[in-house]
Protein backbone atom coordinates (compact mmCIF):
# COMPACT_ATOMS: atom_id res chain seq x y z
CA UNK A 1 0.00 0.00 0.00
CA UNK A 2 1.20 3.50 -0.80
CA UNK A 3 2.33 5.43 2.18
CA UNK A 4 0.04 8.37 1.47
CA UNK A 5 -2.90 6.01 1.85
CA UNK A 6 -1.56 4.43 5.03
CA UNK A 7 -0.88 7.90 6.33
CA UNK A 8 -4.38 9.24 5.75
CA UNK A 9 -5.85 6.07 7.25
CA UNK A 10 -3.72 6.53 10.36
CA UNK A 11 -4.72 10.17 10.63
CA UNK A 12 -8.39 9.35 10.21
CA UNK A 13 -8.30 7.48 13.53
CA UNK A 14 -7.11 10.59 15.34
CA UNK A 15 -9.20 13.37 16.83
CA UNK A 16 -9.57 16.39 14.52
CA UNK A 17 -7.44 18.74 16.61
CA UNK A 18 -4.44 16.48 16.01
CA UNK A 19 -5.35 15.68 12.41
CA UNK A 20 -5.46 19.37 11.53
CA UNK A 21 -1.83 19.76 12.53
CA UNK A 22 -0.55 16.84 10.49
CA UNK A 23 2.14 17.25 7.89
CA UNK A 24 0.55 17.49 4.45
CA UNK A 25 2.19 14.63 2.73
CA UNK A 26 0.31 14.84 -0.55
CA UNK A 27 1.00 18.54 -0.95
CA UNK A 28 4.70 17.99 -0.29
CA UNK A 29 4.71 15.25 -2.89
CA UNK A 30 3.28 17.69 -5.44
CA UNK A 31 6.00 20.18 -4.60
CA UNK A 32 8.63 17.54 -5.26
CA UNK A 33 7.14 17.01 -8.69
CA UNK A 34 7.39 20.75 -9.29
CA UNK A 35 11.02 20.72 -8.26
CA UNK A 36 11.67 18.06 -10.87
CA UNK A 37 9.91 20.13 -13.52
CA UNK A 38 11.93 23.19 -12.52
CA UNK A 39 15.23 21.35 -12.59
CA UNK A 40 14.45 19.78 -15.91
CA UNK A 41 13.68 23.23 -17.32
CA UNK A 42 17.16 24.26 -16.21
CA UNK A 43 18.60 21.37 -18.13
CA UNK A 44 19.21 19.53 -14.91
CA UNK A 45 17.03 16.50 -15.19
CA UNK A 46 17.51 14.07 -12.32
CA UNK A 47 19.71 11.88 -14.55
CA UNK A 48 21.94 14.80 -15.52
CA UNK A 49 22.20 15.97 -11.95
CA UNK A 50 23.07 12.51 -10.79
CA UNK A 51 25.89 12.29 -13.28
CA UNK A 52 27.36 15.72 -12.47
CA UNK A 53 27.05 15.21 -8.75
CA UNK A 54 28.82 11.91 -8.98
CA UNK A 55 31.69 13.54 -10.83
CA UNK A 56 31.72 16.42 -8.36
CA UNK A 57 32.40 14.00 -5.55
CA UNK A 58 35.97 13.77 -6.66
CA UNK A 59 36.74 17.27 -5.51
CA UNK A 60 34.16 17.82 -2.85
CA UNK A 61 35.98 18.75 0.26
CA UNK A 62 34.46 17.95 3.59
CA UNK A 63 36.01 21.13 4.94
CA UNK A 64 33.92 23.25 2.71
CA UNK A 65 31.68 25.56 4.63
CA UNK A 66 28.39 25.94 2.82
CA UNK A 67 27.69 29.25 4.46
CA UNK A 68 30.80 30.73 2.95
CA UNK A 69 31.77 32.25 6.24
CA UNK A 70 33.70 31.10 9.23
CA UNK A 71 31.95 28.55 11.36
CA UNK A 72 30.15 29.64 14.43
CA UNK A 73 30.72 27.84 17.65
CA UNK A 74 29.07 24.50 17.87
CA UNK A 75 28.46 22.01 15.17
CA UNK A 76 27.21 23.20 11.85
CA UNK A 77 23.50 22.56 11.99
CA UNK A 78 23.34 21.56 8.40
CA UNK A 79 25.29 19.13 6.46
CA UNK A 80 24.72 20.18 2.93
CA UNK A 81 27.50 18.84 0.87
CA UNK A 82 27.05 15.60 -0.92
CA UNK A 83 29.34 13.53 1.18
CA UNK A 84 32.15 12.28 -0.92
CA UNK A 85 35.43 10.82 0.20
CA UNK A 86 36.71 13.53 2.52
CA UNK A 87 40.30 12.57 2.03
CA UNK A 88 40.05 13.43 -1.66
CA UNK A 89 42.81 15.80 -2.48
CA UNK A 90 41.57 19.29 -3.13
CA UNK A 91 44.65 20.11 -5.13
CA UNK A 92 43.54 17.93 -7.99
CA UNK A 93 42.07 19.97 -10.78
CA UNK A 94 38.30 19.86 -10.57
CA UNK A 95 36.21 18.45 -13.32
CA UNK A 96 33.83 20.80 -14.97
CA UNK A 97 31.01 21.31 -14.70
CA UNK A 98 30.92 20.83 -10.99
CA UNK A 99 27.84 21.30 -8.87
CA UNK A 100 26.96 21.43 -5.20
CA UNK A 101 23.48 21.40 -3.68
CA UNK A 102 23.28 23.78 -0.74
CA UNK A 103 20.62 24.54 1.81
CA UNK A 104 21.28 28.16 2.59
CA UNK A 105 19.99 29.25 5.99
CA UNK A 106 21.25 32.85 6.01
CA UNK A 107 17.74 34.25 6.00
CA UNK A 108 16.55 31.93 8.77
CA UNK A 109 14.61 29.86 6.28
CA UNK A 110 15.98 26.99 4.32
CA UNK A 111 16.72 28.19 0.83
CA UNK A 112 18.00 25.47 -1.37
CA UNK A 113 20.21 26.40 -4.27
CA UNK A 114 22.69 24.92 -6.62
CA UNK A 115 26.22 26.20 -6.77
CA UNK A 116 27.79 25.56 -10.07
CA UNK A 117 31.34 25.88 -11.30
CA UNK A 118 31.94 25.80 -14.98
CA UNK A 119 34.87 26.33 -17.17
CA UNK A 120 34.51 29.67 -18.89
CA UNK A 121 36.05 28.60 -22.15
CA UNK A 122 33.78 25.67 -22.63
CA UNK A 123 30.11 26.22 -22.95
CA UNK A 124 28.54 24.42 -20.09
CA UNK A 125 26.23 22.16 -21.82
CA UNK A 126 24.53 20.42 -19.02
CA UNK A 127 22.09 18.24 -20.76
CA UNK A 128 22.71 17.24 -24.32
CA UNK A 129 19.04 16.84 -24.93
CA UNK A 130 18.12 20.14 -23.43
CA UNK A 131 19.02 23.75 -23.76
CA UNK A 132 21.86 25.49 -21.98
CA UNK A 133 21.28 26.50 -18.45
CA UNK A 134 18.94 29.36 -18.86
CA UNK A 135 20.86 32.48 -17.88
CA UNK A 136 17.66 34.07 -16.68
CA UNK A 137 17.67 31.61 -13.82
CA UNK A 138 21.22 32.17 -12.85
CA UNK A 139 22.72 34.33 -10.29
CA UNK A 140 26.40 34.70 -10.25
CA UNK A 141 27.99 34.61 -6.91
CA UNK A 142 29.45 37.68 -5.47
CA UNK A 143 30.62 38.46 -2.00
CA UNK A 144 27.38 40.05 -1.01
CA UNK A 145 24.67 37.78 0.35
CA UNK A 146 22.89 36.12 -2.51
CA UNK A 147 19.52 37.42 -3.32
CA UNK A 148 17.11 34.64 -3.99
CA UNK A 149 14.64 36.19 -6.35
CA UNK A 150 14.61 33.68 -9.14
CA UNK A 151 15.18 36.11 -11.98
CA UNK A 152 18.06 38.08 -10.59
CA UNK A 153 20.86 38.01 -13.00
CA UNK A 154 24.29 39.31 -12.37
CA UNK A 155 27.29 39.13 -14.50
CA UNK A 156 29.75 36.44 -13.96
CA UNK A 157 33.06 36.98 -12.30
CA UNK A 158 35.98 34.85 -11.34
CA UNK A 159 35.80 33.05 -8.07
CA UNK A 160 36.00 35.63 -5.38
CA UNK A 161 39.30 35.63 -3.47
CA UNK A 162 37.63 34.63 -0.22
CA UNK A 163 36.73 31.32 -1.72
CA UNK A 164 40.18 30.31 -2.79
CA UNK A 165 41.30 30.16 0.82
CA UNK A 166 38.66 27.57 1.42
CA UNK A 167 40.26 25.11 -0.87
CA UNK A 168 37.83 25.72 -3.63
CA UNK A 169 38.89 25.76 -7.22
CA UNK A 170 40.55 29.04 -7.99
CA UNK A 171 41.07 28.61 -11.64
CA UNK A 172 41.08 31.75 -13.58
CA UNK A 173 38.78 30.24 -16.12
CA UNK A 174 36.23 28.93 -13.70
CA UNK A 175 32.91 30.58 -13.21
CA UNK A 176 30.82 30.17 -10.13
CA UNK A 177 27.08 30.39 -10.43
CA UNK A 178 24.26 30.12 -7.95
CA UNK A 179 20.90 28.80 -9.08
CA UNK A 180 18.04 29.36 -6.65
CA UNK A 181 15.37 26.70 -6.56
CA UNK A 182 11.98 28.29 -5.76
CA UNK A 183 9.87 25.13 -5.74
CA UNK A 184 12.41 23.41 -3.61
CA UNK A 185 12.31 26.41 -1.25
CA UNK A 186 8.56 26.03 -1.09
CA UNK A 187 9.00 22.36 -0.26
CA UNK A 188 11.30 23.04 2.66
CA UNK A 189 9.29 26.00 3.79
CA UNK A 190 6.15 23.92 3.92
CA UNK A 191 7.84 21.01 5.70
CA UNK A 192 9.66 23.13 8.25
CA UNK A 193 6.67 25.35 8.87
CA UNK A 194 4.46 22.33 9.53
CA UNK A 195 7.06 20.91 11.87
CA UNK A 196 7.38 24.17 13.77
CA UNK A 197 3.64 24.63 14.10
CA UNK A 198 3.36 21.09 15.33
CA UNK A 199 6.12 21.66 17.83
CA UNK A 200 4.28 24.62 19.39
CA UNK A 201 1.03 22.71 19.37
CA UNK A 202 2.66 19.81 21.18
CA UNK A 203 3.99 22.14 23.84
CA UNK A 204 0.43 23.30 24.46
CA UNK A 205 -0.74 19.69 24.59
CA UNK A 206 1.91 18.86 27.13
CA UNK A 207 0.91 21.78 29.31
CA UNK A 208 -2.74 20.84 29.18
CA UNK A 209 -1.94 17.23 29.96
CA UNK A 210 0.13 18.23 32.99
CA UNK A 211 -2.68 20.41 34.27
CA UNK A 212 -5.28 17.67 33.87
CA UNK A 213 -2.97 15.22 35.52
CA UNK A 214 -2.49 17.45 38.54
CA UNK A 215 -6.27 17.83 38.88
CA UNK A 216 -6.58 14.08 38.65
CA UNK A 217 -3.90 13.59 41.30
CA UNK A 218 -5.90 15.80 43.67
CA UNK A 219 -9.10 13.90 42.94
CA UNK A 220 -7.54 10.53 43.51
CA UNK A 221 -5.83 11.65 46.70
CA UNK A 222 -9.20 12.81 47.97
CA UNK A 223 -10.94 9.55 47.12
CA UNK A 224 -8.23 7.05 48.05
CA UNK A 225 -7.85 8.11 51.64
CA UNK A 226 -6.14 5.80 54.08
CA UNK A 227 -7.61 4.43 57.32
CA UNK A 228 -6.80 7.51 59.23
CA UNK A 229 -7.65 10.14 56.71
CA UNK A 230 -5.33 12.44 58.55
CA UNK A 231 -2.33 10.45 57.38
CA UNK A 232 -0.08 12.12 54.96
CA UNK A 233 1.63 9.78 52.57
CA UNK A 234 5.36 9.17 52.82
CA UNK A 235 6.76 7.02 50.08
CA UNK A 236 9.55 6.16 52.43
CA UNK A 237 9.02 5.54 56.01
CA UNK A 238 12.23 3.95 57.08
CA UNK A 239 12.59 6.71 59.57
CA UNK A 240 11.65 6.01 63.11
CA UNK A 241 11.12 9.65 63.74
CA UNK A 242 8.00 9.74 65.94
CA UNK A 243 6.93 12.92 64.22
CA UNK A 244 6.17 10.90 61.10
CA UNK A 245 4.12 8.34 62.93
CA UNK A 246 0.46 8.72 62.37
CA UNK A 247 -1.77 7.54 65.12
CA UNK A 248 -4.51 5.34 63.78
CA UNK A 249 -8.04 6.21 64.59
CA UNK A 250 -10.23 3.34 63.40
CA UNK A 251 -13.35 5.28 64.16
CA UNK A 252 -12.75 7.65 61.28
CA UNK A 253 -12.75 4.75 58.81
CA UNK A 254 -16.20 3.59 59.73
CA UNK A 255 -17.36 7.09 60.18
CA UNK A 256 -18.24 9.64 57.59
CA UNK A 257 -15.11 9.49 55.47
CA UNK A 258 -15.66 6.85 52.78
CA UNK A 259 -12.67 5.82 50.76
CA UNK A 260 -12.11 4.09 47.42
CA UNK A 261 -8.57 3.21 48.42
CA UNK A 262 -8.88 -0.48 47.65
CA UNK A 263 -10.61 0.17 44.31
CA UNK A 264 -7.86 2.54 43.25
CA UNK A 265 -5.24 0.08 44.40
CA UNK A 266 -6.82 -2.53 42.19
CA UNK A 267 -6.99 -0.14 39.24
CA UNK A 268 -3.33 0.78 39.50
CA UNK A 269 -2.24 -2.78 40.03
CA UNK A 270 -4.02 -3.81 36.84
CA UNK A 271 -2.61 -0.77 35.07
CA UNK A 272 0.94 -1.69 36.02
CA UNK A 273 0.40 -5.32 35.12
CA UNK A 274 -1.01 -4.35 31.73
CA UNK A 275 2.17 -2.42 30.95
CA UNK A 276 0.18 -0.40 28.46
CA UNK A 277 2.91 1.87 27.21
CA UNK A 278 6.01 -0.08 28.05
CA UNK A 279 6.72 -3.60 27.07
CA UNK A 280 9.28 -4.97 29.44
CA UNK A 281 11.03 -7.16 26.93
CA UNK A 282 13.04 -5.58 24.17
CA UNK A 283 12.21 -2.01 23.23
CA UNK A 284 9.66 -1.96 20.50
CA UNK A 285 9.58 0.89 18.09
CA UNK A 286 7.40 2.59 15.53
CA UNK A 287 4.31 0.85 14.30
CA UNK A 288 4.84 -2.17 16.52
CA UNK A 289 4.88 0.01 19.62
CA UNK A 290 1.64 1.71 18.59
CA UNK A 291 -0.18 -1.55 17.90
CA UNK A 292 1.14 -3.02 21.09
CA UNK A 293 0.01 -0.10 23.21
CA UNK A 294 -3.43 -0.08 21.60
CA UNK A 295 -3.82 -3.78 22.29
CA UNK A 296 -2.67 -3.49 25.89
CA UNK A 297 -4.87 -0.50 26.60
CA UNK A 298 -7.79 -2.56 25.30
CA UNK A 299 -6.91 -5.44 27.63
CA UNK A 300 -6.63 -3.08 30.57
CA UNK A 301 -10.07 -1.63 29.83
CA UNK A 302 -11.57 -5.09 29.56
CA UNK A 303 -10.09 -6.12 32.91
CA UNK A 304 -11.40 -2.95 34.49
CA UNK A 305 -14.80 -3.68 33.01
CA UNK A 306 -14.83 -7.18 34.47
CA UNK A 307 -14.32 -5.69 37.90
CA UNK A 308 -16.92 -3.00 37.39
CA UNK A 309 -14.28 -0.32 37.54
CA UNK A 310 -14.20 1.00 33.98
CA UNK A 311 -17.34 3.05 34.48
CA UNK A 312 -16.66 3.60 38.13
CA UNK A 313 -19.73 1.57 39.19
CA UNK A 314 -17.51 -0.41 41.52
CA UNK A 315 -16.52 2.75 43.32
CA UNK A 316 -18.26 4.36 46.23
CA UNK A 317 -17.65 8.01 45.62
CA UNK A 318 -18.97 10.15 42.80
CA UNK A 319 -15.62 11.90 42.69
CA UNK A 320 -13.87 8.57 42.10
CA UNK A 321 -16.02 7.86 39.06
CA UNK A 322 -15.12 11.22 37.63
CA UNK A 323 -11.44 10.68 38.35
CA UNK A 324 -11.60 7.25 36.72
CA UNK A 325 -13.00 8.80 33.56
CA UNK A 326 -10.20 11.31 33.47
CA UNK A 327 -7.55 8.68 34.10
CA UNK A 328 -8.80 6.75 31.08
CA UNK A 329 -8.97 9.91 28.98
CA UNK A 330 -5.36 10.75 29.77
CA UNK A 331 -4.31 7.29 28.69
CA UNK A 332 -6.33 7.52 25.49
CA UNK A 333 -4.67 10.84 24.70
CA UNK A 334 -1.23 9.28 25.10
CA UNK A 335 -2.20 6.54 22.67
CA UNK A 336 -3.37 9.13 20.15
CA UNK A 337 -0.16 11.02 20.57
CA UNK A 338 1.83 7.87 20.02
CA UNK A 339 -0.05 7.23 16.78
CA UNK A 340 0.36 10.81 15.67
CA UNK A 341 4.04 10.68 16.45
CA UNK A 342 4.51 7.56 14.42
CA UNK A 343 2.53 8.99 11.47
CA UNK A 344 4.45 12.29 11.50
CA UNK A 345 7.88 10.76 11.83
CA UNK A 346 7.16 8.31 9.04
CA UNK A 347 5.76 11.05 6.81
CA UNK A 348 8.86 13.20 7.35
CA UNK A 349 11.24 10.36 6.73
CA UNK A 350 9.40 9.17 3.62
CA UNK A 351 8.99 12.60 2.08
CA UNK A 352 12.69 13.38 2.44
CA UNK A 353 13.53 10.02 0.94
CA UNK A 354 11.16 10.69 -1.92
CA UNK A 355 12.76 14.11 -2.43
CA UNK A 356 16.17 12.54 -2.84
CA UNK A 357 14.90 9.78 -5.08
CA UNK A 358 12.88 11.98 -7.41
CA UNK A 359 15.14 15.02 -7.75
CA UNK A 360 18.56 13.44 -7.33
CA UNK A 361 19.37 16.38 -5.06
CA UNK A 362 21.39 14.93 -2.23
CA UNK A 363 19.88 16.21 1.01
CA UNK A 364 21.91 15.35 4.00
CA UNK A 365 19.72 16.82 6.63
CA UNK A 366 17.92 15.58 9.69
CA UNK A 367 14.74 17.29 10.71
CA UNK A 368 14.34 16.55 14.35
CA UNK A 369 10.95 15.20 15.23
CA UNK A 370 8.71 17.72 17.01
CA UNK A 371 7.84 14.82 19.30
CA UNK A 372 11.42 14.56 20.48
CA UNK A 373 11.97 16.43 23.68
CA UNK A 374 15.46 17.26 24.73
CA UNK A 375 15.82 16.28 28.32
CA UNK A 376 16.85 18.82 30.92
CA UNK A 377 15.71 21.57 28.62
CA UNK A 378 12.25 22.97 29.13
CA UNK A 379 12.24 24.88 25.91
CA UNK A 380 12.61 23.23 22.59
CA UNK A 381 15.88 23.86 20.89
CA UNK A 382 15.85 26.99 18.80
CA UNK A 383 16.83 25.07 15.73
CA UNK A 384 14.60 22.36 14.41
CA UNK A 385 17.39 20.99 12.40
CA UNK A 386 20.21 19.12 13.95
CA UNK A 387 22.77 16.81 12.55
CA UNK A 388 22.71 14.52 15.54
CA UNK A 389 19.61 13.42 17.39
CA UNK A 390 21.16 14.00 20.80
CA UNK A 391 19.62 12.86 24.05
CA UNK A 392 15.94 13.03 23.37
CA UNK A 393 12.81 11.43 24.73
CA UNK A 394 9.51 11.24 22.97
CA UNK A 395 6.67 13.37 24.29
CA UNK A 396 4.47 10.30 24.70
CA UNK A 397 7.10 8.67 26.89
CA UNK A 398 7.39 11.79 29.04
CA UNK A 399 3.63 11.73 29.63
CA UNK A 400 3.72 8.04 30.46
CA UNK A 401 6.47 8.69 32.97
CA UNK A 402 4.50 11.60 34.44
CA UNK A 403 1.57 9.27 35.15
CA UNK A 404 3.97 6.78 36.68
CA UNK A 405 5.49 9.45 38.91
CA UNK A 406 2.44 11.52 39.82
CA UNK A 407 -0.65 9.32 39.73
CA UNK A 408 0.41 5.79 40.52
CA UNK A 409 2.33 6.54 43.76
CA UNK A 410 -0.73 8.22 45.30
CA UNK A 411 -1.77 4.75 46.35
CA UNK A 412 1.16 2.90 47.90
CA UNK A 413 1.87 -0.44 46.26
CA UNK A 414 1.97 -3.38 48.62
CA UNK A 415 4.87 -4.90 46.69
CA UNK A 416 7.02 -2.05 47.97
CA UNK A 417 6.33 -3.19 51.53
CA UNK A 418 6.75 -6.91 51.17
CA UNK A 419 9.12 -9.24 52.97
CA UNK A 420 11.59 -10.79 50.51
CA UNK A 421 11.41 -14.11 52.32
CA UNK A 422 7.68 -14.80 52.45
CA UNK A 423 6.68 -12.36 49.65
CA UNK A 424 3.78 -11.21 51.83
CA UNK A 425 3.41 -7.82 53.49
CA UNK A 426 6.33 -7.36 55.90
CA UNK A 427 4.07 -7.17 58.93
CA UNK A 428 5.06 -6.60 61.65
CA UNK A 429 8.02 -4.93 60.06
CA UNK A 430 11.43 -5.63 61.53
CA UNK A 431 14.27 -3.41 60.41
CA UNK A 432 17.65 -5.06 61.00
CA UNK A 433 20.68 -2.97 61.90
CA UNK A 434 21.93 -3.34 58.34
CA UNK A 435 18.75 -1.59 57.19
CA UNK A 436 17.02 -4.56 55.60
CA UNK A 437 13.40 -5.23 56.29
CA UNK A 438 11.64 -8.53 57.03
CA UNK A 439 8.42 -9.60 58.63
CA UNK A 440 8.65 -10.61 62.25
CA UNK A 441 7.64 -14.17 61.40
CA UNK A 442 10.54 -14.70 59.00
CA UNK A 443 12.93 -13.14 61.48
CA UNK A 444 11.86 -15.58 64.16
CA UNK A 445 12.29 -18.49 61.77
CA UNK A 446 15.80 -17.34 60.86
CA UNK A 447 16.71 -16.98 64.52
CA UNK A 448 15.38 -20.43 65.34
CA UNK A 449 17.53 -21.91 62.58
CA UNK A 450 20.54 -20.04 63.95
CA UNK A 451 20.95 -18.21 60.71
CA UNK A 452 23.08 -15.27 61.79
CA UNK A 453 23.48 -13.37 58.55
CA UNK A 454 21.06 -11.05 56.81
CA UNK A 455 19.74 -12.78 53.67
CA UNK A 456 20.19 -9.59 51.69
CA UNK A 457 23.65 -8.43 52.69
CA UNK A 458 25.03 -11.26 54.85
CA UNK A 459 25.77 -8.83 57.69
CA UNK A 460 25.54 -10.59 61.09
CA UNK A 461 22.41 -8.70 62.14
CA UNK A 462 19.81 -11.44 62.48
CA UNK A 463 20.51 -12.95 65.89
CA UNK A 464 20.94 -9.62 67.64
CA UNK A 465 17.56 -8.34 66.48
CA UNK A 466 14.83 -7.93 69.11
CA UNK A 467 11.73 -5.86 69.89
CA UNK A 468 13.70 -2.67 69.45
CA UNK A 469 14.01 -3.53 65.76
CA UNK A 470 10.30 -3.07 65.11
CA UNK A 471 9.90 -0.21 62.66
CA UNK A 472 6.98 1.56 64.39
CA UNK A 473 6.57 4.30 61.82
CA UNK A 474 6.31 1.76 59.05
CA UNK A 475 4.03 -0.41 61.17
CA UNK A 476 1.56 2.44 61.55
CA UNK A 477 1.89 3.33 57.92
CA UNK A 478 1.04 -0.25 56.94
CA UNK A 479 -1.96 -0.39 59.24
CA UNK A 480 -3.10 2.84 57.72
CA UNK A 481 -2.71 2.01 54.04
CA UNK A 482 -2.98 -1.79 54.03
CA UNK A 483 -5.39 -2.47 56.87
CA UNK A 484 -6.85 -5.68 55.48
CA UNK A 485 -3.52 -7.12 54.36
CA UNK A 486 -1.82 -6.30 57.66
CA UNK A 487 -4.62 -7.89 59.65
CA UNK A 488 -4.59 -11.03 57.55
CA UNK A 489 -0.83 -11.37 57.86
CA UNK A 490 -1.03 -10.99 61.64
CA UNK A 491 -3.54 -13.81 61.84
CA UNK A 492 -1.42 -15.96 59.57
CA UNK A 493 1.67 -15.30 61.66
CA UNK A 494 -0.13 -16.28 64.82
CA UNK A 495 -1.50 -19.45 63.30
CA UNK A 496 1.87 -20.45 61.98
CA UNK A 497 3.61 -19.74 65.28
CA UNK A 498 1.06 -21.83 67.16
CA UNK A 499 1.51 -24.72 64.74
CA UNK A 500 5.26 -24.51 65.04
CA UNK A 501 5.01 -24.56 68.79
CA UNK A 502 2.87 -27.67 68.65
CA UNK A 503 5.37 -29.37 66.38
CA UNK A 504 8.21 -28.49 68.68
CA UNK A 505 6.30 -29.92 71.58
CA UNK A 506 5.53 -33.03 69.54
CA UNK A 507 9.17 -33.52 68.69
CA UNK A 508 10.27 -33.03 72.24
CA UNK A 509 7.84 -35.52 73.69
CA UNK A 510 8.24 -38.41 71.29
CA UNK A 511 5.12 -40.46 70.74
CA UNK A 512 2.83 -37.51 70.58
CA UNK A 513 1.07 -37.48 67.20
CA UNK A 514 0.79 -34.27 65.36
CA UNK A 515 -2.31 -33.84 63.22
Amino acid sequence: MHFSKTYSQLLSTLPPDLRDKAIEYRQLKKLINQVVVELTALGLSPETLQRILLESHVTTSAEYDPKGKSRESGPNPLSLIPSGPSEASSTEPPLFPRIVYELNTDSGEIEPRLRLWTSSNTQFLLDTTSQFVNPAHLEVLNDKPPSLAPCDVEVEVDSPPARSTLGEPSFAESRELVIPLPSDSAFFHSLIHATQTLSLFLMAIRKEFTQNMEDLARNISATAKPMSSKSSFHTYSSSTNPALVTIRSPASYFGSSKSDLSAWREVFQMYLESEVFESHGEQKRGERAVEDAEHRLGLFLRRLGERGLADGSGMKLQQSKQAMRMFLELNASILNLLKFQYATNEATRKILKKHTKRTALPINLVISSPFSIIEDAHQPSSSLIRTSSGNTTSLALILVQAIGQTIIPIVPDIDDYSCVICSDIAFKPIRLHCGHLFCVRCLVKMQKRGQANCPMCRAPTVLIANRSNVDWALLNFMRDWFPAEAKKKMEQNEKEAAKEEMEELGLNSSGCIIG
Partner: protein, 137 residues
Amino acid sequence: MALPKRIIKETERLVADPAPGISAAPHEDNLRYFDVTIQGPDGSPFQNGVFSLELFLPEEYPMAPPKVRFLTKIYHPNIDKWSPALQIRTVLLSIQALLSAPNPDDPLATDVAKHYKENEKDAQRVSREWTERYASS
Protein backbone atom coordinates in the same frame (compact mmCIF):
# COMPACT_ATOMS: atom_id res chain seq x y z
CA MET B 1 -1.47 -27.89 52.52
CA ALA B 2 -1.85 -24.48 50.96
CA LEU B 3 1.09 -23.30 48.92
CA PRO B 4 2.86 -20.31 50.49
CA LYS B 5 2.42 -16.97 48.74
CA ARG B 6 6.13 -16.84 48.04
CA ILE B 7 6.04 -20.05 45.98
CA ILE B 8 2.91 -18.98 44.12
CA LYS B 9 4.53 -15.65 43.18
CA GLU B 10 7.79 -17.22 42.10
CA THR B 11 6.02 -19.82 39.99
CA GLU B 12 3.86 -17.21 38.28
CA ARG B 13 6.90 -15.25 37.31
CA LEU B 14 8.89 -18.27 36.17
CA VAL B 15 6.12 -19.21 33.80
CA ALA B 16 5.18 -15.71 32.61
CA ASP B 17 8.68 -14.32 32.24
CA PRO B 18 11.16 -17.15 31.89
CA ALA B 19 14.88 -16.43 32.05
CA PRO B 20 16.59 -16.90 28.66
CA GLY B 21 17.71 -20.47 28.11
CA ILE B 22 15.88 -21.74 31.19
CA SER B 23 12.49 -23.34 31.50
CA ALA B 24 10.88 -24.48 34.72
CA ALA B 25 7.41 -25.96 35.02
CA PRO B 26 5.77 -27.23 38.21
CA HIS B 27 4.19 -30.69 38.34
CA GLU B 28 0.44 -30.54 38.32
CA ASP B 29 0.09 -32.93 41.22
CA ASN B 30 2.93 -31.44 43.28
CA LEU B 31 3.47 -27.73 42.89
CA ARG B 32 6.73 -27.90 44.84
CA TYR B 33 8.27 -30.11 42.23
CA PHE B 34 9.62 -28.57 38.99
CA ASP B 35 10.89 -29.96 35.73
CA VAL B 36 13.73 -27.78 34.58
CA THR B 37 15.79 -27.53 31.41
CA ILE B 38 18.84 -25.35 31.00
CA GLN B 39 20.59 -24.71 27.70
CA GLY B 40 24.37 -24.93 27.82
CA PRO B 41 25.78 -21.41 27.43
CA ASP B 42 27.40 -20.53 24.12
CA GLY B 43 31.17 -20.64 24.23
CA SER B 44 31.26 -23.12 27.11
CA PRO B 45 32.06 -26.84 26.85
CA PHE B 46 28.31 -27.31 27.43
CA GLN B 47 27.26 -25.38 24.33
CA ASN B 48 24.41 -26.98 22.31
CA GLY B 49 23.60 -29.18 25.27
CA VAL B 50 20.20 -29.18 26.92
CA PHE B 51 20.38 -30.24 30.55
CA SER B 52 17.42 -31.62 32.43
CA LEU B 53 17.17 -31.02 36.14
CA GLU B 54 14.61 -31.59 38.80
CA LEU B 55 14.02 -29.00 41.44
CA PHE B 56 12.15 -29.57 44.68
CA LEU B 57 11.11 -26.96 47.23
CA PRO B 58 11.26 -28.49 50.71
CA GLU B 59 8.70 -27.65 53.38
CA GLU B 60 11.07 -25.11 54.94
CA TYR B 61 11.64 -23.26 51.67
CA PRO B 62 12.80 -20.50 51.44
CA MET B 63 14.50 -20.85 54.80
CA ALA B 64 16.09 -23.96 53.35
CA PRO B 65 17.35 -23.99 49.76
CA PRO B 66 15.64 -25.80 46.90
CA LYS B 67 16.99 -29.24 46.13
CA VAL B 68 18.32 -29.48 42.60
CA ARG B 69 19.44 -32.62 40.80
CA PHE B 70 20.90 -32.96 37.34
CA LEU B 71 19.04 -35.65 35.43
CA THR B 72 21.33 -35.36 32.44
CA LYS B 73 24.78 -36.73 33.13
CA ILE B 74 27.09 -33.76 33.26
CA TYR B 75 30.83 -33.48 33.77
CA HIS B 76 31.01 -30.41 35.97
CA PRO B 77 32.83 -29.77 39.24
CA ASN B 78 30.24 -27.84 41.24
CA ILE B 79 26.71 -27.08 41.64
CA ASP B 80 26.56 -21.97 46.84
CA LYS B 81 25.62 -20.74 49.79
CA TRP B 82 21.90 -20.38 50.34
CA SER B 83 20.08 -17.28 51.49
CA PRO B 84 16.29 -17.10 51.84
CA ALA B 85 16.43 -13.95 49.73
CA LEU B 86 17.49 -16.06 46.77
CA GLN B 87 14.89 -17.52 44.47
CA ILE B 88 14.30 -20.47 42.19
CA ARG B 89 15.17 -18.20 39.29
CA THR B 90 18.47 -17.10 40.87
CA VAL B 91 19.41 -20.67 41.62
CA LEU B 92 18.79 -21.74 38.04
CA LEU B 93 20.61 -18.70 36.70
CA SER B 94 23.63 -19.46 38.83
CA ILE B 95 23.60 -23.05 37.61
CA GLN B 96 23.53 -21.71 34.07
CA ALA B 97 26.40 -19.35 34.92
CA LEU B 98 28.36 -22.21 36.46
CA LEU B 99 28.10 -24.00 33.16
CA SER B 100 30.02 -21.18 31.48
CA ALA B 101 32.65 -20.92 34.21
CA PRO B 102 33.25 -24.07 36.23
CA ASN B 103 34.75 -23.24 39.61
CA PRO B 104 36.91 -26.14 40.80
CA ASP B 105 37.67 -24.41 44.12
CA ASP B 106 34.13 -24.93 45.36
CA PRO B 107 33.43 -28.42 44.15
CA LEU B 108 30.56 -30.78 44.54
CA ALA B 109 31.95 -33.47 42.28
CA THR B 110 35.44 -33.79 43.71
CA ASP B 111 36.96 -36.04 41.03
CA VAL B 112 35.80 -33.72 38.32
CA ALA B 113 37.12 -30.74 40.27
CA LYS B 114 40.48 -32.46 40.60
CA HIS B 115 40.52 -33.08 36.88
CA TYR B 116 39.65 -29.41 36.18
CA LYS B 117 42.47 -28.28 38.51
CA GLU B 118 45.13 -30.58 37.15
CA ASN B 119 44.36 -30.44 33.44
CA GLU B 120 41.72 -27.90 32.53
CA LYS B 121 41.96 -28.47 28.77
CA ASP B 122 41.42 -32.17 29.11
CA ALA B 123 38.60 -31.71 31.62
CA GLN B 124 36.90 -29.32 29.19
CA ARG B 125 37.30 -31.91 26.48
CA VAL B 126 35.55 -34.50 28.65
CA SER B 127 32.81 -31.97 29.48
CA ARG B 128 32.28 -31.41 25.78
CA GLU B 129 32.17 -35.12 25.12
CA TRP B 130 29.61 -35.67 27.84
CA THR B 131 27.53 -32.79 26.55
CA GLU B 132 27.51 -34.38 23.13
CA ARG B 133 26.79 -37.83 24.44
CA TYR B 134 24.20 -37.07 27.11
CA ALA B 135 22.82 -33.59 26.60
CA SER B 136 22.26 -33.35 22.88
CA SER B 137 18.87 -33.94 21.39
